[in-house]
Every structure is written in structure tokens, then in C-alpha cells.
């Protein structure tokens, strides 16, 4: 399979269009299963009571907030290195969803922190670096919006994304490097998870649902960008001819 084939905006537009419903409905189905496990299968936690159920969204959202940023940085780097249009568009399309997951991670974290720690917020390394991640997302989106020249904006945004990527390992390892109020990770590639299997399954299914969701909305967003940027081409004109009349 030639991957360069899919780096052409016209090819990717059609591919993303075909895949979006699968990821969208997949996300809906996985969310339904994940929520069922979160509320009806997973038992009450012996220490945290029912409040621990917040982790079924908090942990997947926090993972996604970091993962999406790294994917953005990856596409930004590819764009800067090879000047590929689609890479920059993908980076731009990912940012709002990444910012949304970062906000959700912070919000649910505050709502878990209040009953468990007695505080909505503390300035510990994990929380502060995650807040910086939200500011980075907002800053990068604002930078893109502020530069009228699209290609210049692409490059400036990619550069800022790459510089900010240093924050992701800081977030991830903050609970090890500093003495944080935030607990260490319950799931680690090196050792068995320190939580009940069914809780872990619920969290993993919600995480996969979040992946599917992020892919679906990113595809919709990138397709819109492709239409906008390629509007002078014959293939976009042909699409607009047929689609707008149909809607």
C-alpha cells in the first residue's frame, strides 16, 4: 500500500468520508458499553465510594489530552519537514478536540478532588502542567486564527506545537518527578494494574470510545478544511455541485 497516495487531499477527503460513520457509530456503541460498565457492572470502591466512577471519564480524557497533542506535534513536524498540506490540516483539525479533552480532564479532576482531597484545585505539578496544556491548545488555536496567510499560520502553529510538546512528558512523569497530591498512575506498561479488572475494562473501553470519537470529529473537520483550501480545484467544484443541492 502506498501511503503517499493518501497524503493527497482529494484521496484523503474521500477516505475520511467513508471512515467517519464507522468511527462515529463505533464511538457511540463503545460509549454505551463503557457507560453500562461504569454505572452497572463496576462495583463500589471500598475507599472512594461511588465518587470513583468519575475516573471512567477523567482518565480517558486525560490520556486523550496528551495523546492528541503528541499526534498534533507529529503532524506539525511532518508538515515542517516535508511541506505536506494535509499534515498541517490534520494538526489544525485535532486541536479543538484536544482542548476539549483537556478541559474535561481538568473539570472532572476538580469534581473528583473536592470530595477526595477537600479541594477543587491545588497547584501541584500534575494539575499545573495539565492546565498549561490547555493554555497551549488555546494559544495554538489563537495563533492559527490570528495569521491570515494560511501556509504561514500552518508553520507558526506547528512550531509552537513542537515547542510545547516538552510539556507532555512533564505531565506524564510529574507524579514521579515531584511529590504531588495527584496519585501516581494506576496503569503501567511495566507492572500489573493496581485496580479491579472490571474497572480497568470500563476505563479502557471508554478510552477506545474517546479515540474513535476524536478520529470521527477530526475527519469531519479536516474534510471541511480540505474543501476550503482546495476550492479552486475541479474535484471540489464537482463535490459542491452535487452535495449542496442534495442537502
Amino acid at each position: 500500500m502506498n501511503l503517499y497516495h493518501f497524503s493527497s487531499p482529494s484521496t484523503f477527503y474521500h477516505l475520511a468520508g467513508r471512515l467517519t460513520p464507522w468511527f462515529g457509530w463505533g464511538a457511540a456503541l463503545l460509549t454505551a458499553v463503557g457507560l453500562y460498565i461504569s454505572f452497572f457492572v463496576a462495583p463500589t470502591d471500598f475507599q472512594q465510594g461511588e465518587a470513583y466512577r468519575i475516573i471512567f471519564i477523567h482518565v480517558p480524557a486525560a490520556w486523550m489530552s496528551m495523546f492528541i497533542y503528541l499526534v498534533m506535534a507529529f503532524w506539525g513536524a511532518i508538515g515542517l519537514a516535508f511541506n505536506t498540506r494535509l499534515s498541517f490540516m490534520l494538526a489544525r483539525a485535532l486541536a479543538p478536540t484536544g482542548a476539549m479533552f483537556t478541559f474535561v480532564a481538568l473539570w472532572t479532576g476538580a469534581l473528583w478532588g473536592k470530595p477526595m482531597w477537600g479541594a477543587w484545585w491545588v497547584w501541584d505539578a500534575r494539575l499545573t502542567s495539565e492546565l498549561i496544556l490547555l493554555f497551549l491548545y488555546v494559544g495554538i488555536i489563537a495563533l492559527w486564527a490570528a495569521i491570515d496567510d494560511v501556509r504561514r499560520g500552518d508553520r507558526a502553529g506547528a512550531l509552537l506545537t513542537l515547542i510545547g510538546a516538552i510539556n507532555v512528558p512533564i505531565i506524564y512523569f510529574s507524579v514521579k518527578w515531584w511529590n504531588t497530591l495527584h496519585q501516581g498512575s494506576s496503569i503501567n506498561l511495566m507492572k500489573a494494574p493496581s485496580m479491579a479488572k472490571i474497572m480497568l475494562w470500563g476505563m479502557l473501553i471508554m478510552a477506545i470510545a474517546a479515540w474513535f470519537y476524536a478520529i470521527a470529529v477530526t475527519f469531519v473537520r479536516v474534510r471541511r478544511m480540505i474543501l476550503e483550501r482546495e476550492r479552486q480545484t475541479e474535484w471540489v467544484k464537482a463535490i459542491l455541485d452535487t452535495q449542496v443541492e442534495a442537502s
Partner: protein, 57 residues
């Protein structure tokens, strides 16, 4: 199933504000993102179509 009734489920062992505050705000974020995206997509297609018509006229 460890809930005795609907009230029991809704009260979340006394943590209803925190649990439902988390799940509902997350749901709202997702719904808002999807709705905004859908509108933006329709708007973009209409606008590009109009521009295309002007150019051909």
C-alpha cells in the same frame, strides 16, 4: 446491579453533584462540539457553493 432503586442510583452514594457534574458536563462538551461542527460544515459548503456561483456568473 447494585442499585436498589432510581433514587439510590441518582444520589450516587451522596456524591451525585460530583459524579453527575462530571458526566453531564462531558456529555454537553461532546454534544456542543458535534453540533457546532455540523453547522460549520453545512455553512462552509453553502458558502463555497455561493462563491463558486459568483465566479461562474
Amino acid at each position: 446491579m447494585h442499585w436498589n432503586n432510581l433514587d439510590d442510583f441518582l444520589s450516587m452514594g451522596g456524591y451525585w453533584l460530583y459524579v453527575w457534574g462530571s458526566f453531564l458536563v462531558t456529555a454537553a462538551c461532546v454534544v456542543i462540539e458535534v453540533v457546532v461542527l455540523k453547522h460549520a460544515d453545512t455553512d462552509t459548503r453553502r458558502r463555497l457553493k455561493r462563491m463558486q456561483q459568483w465566479e461562474t456568473e
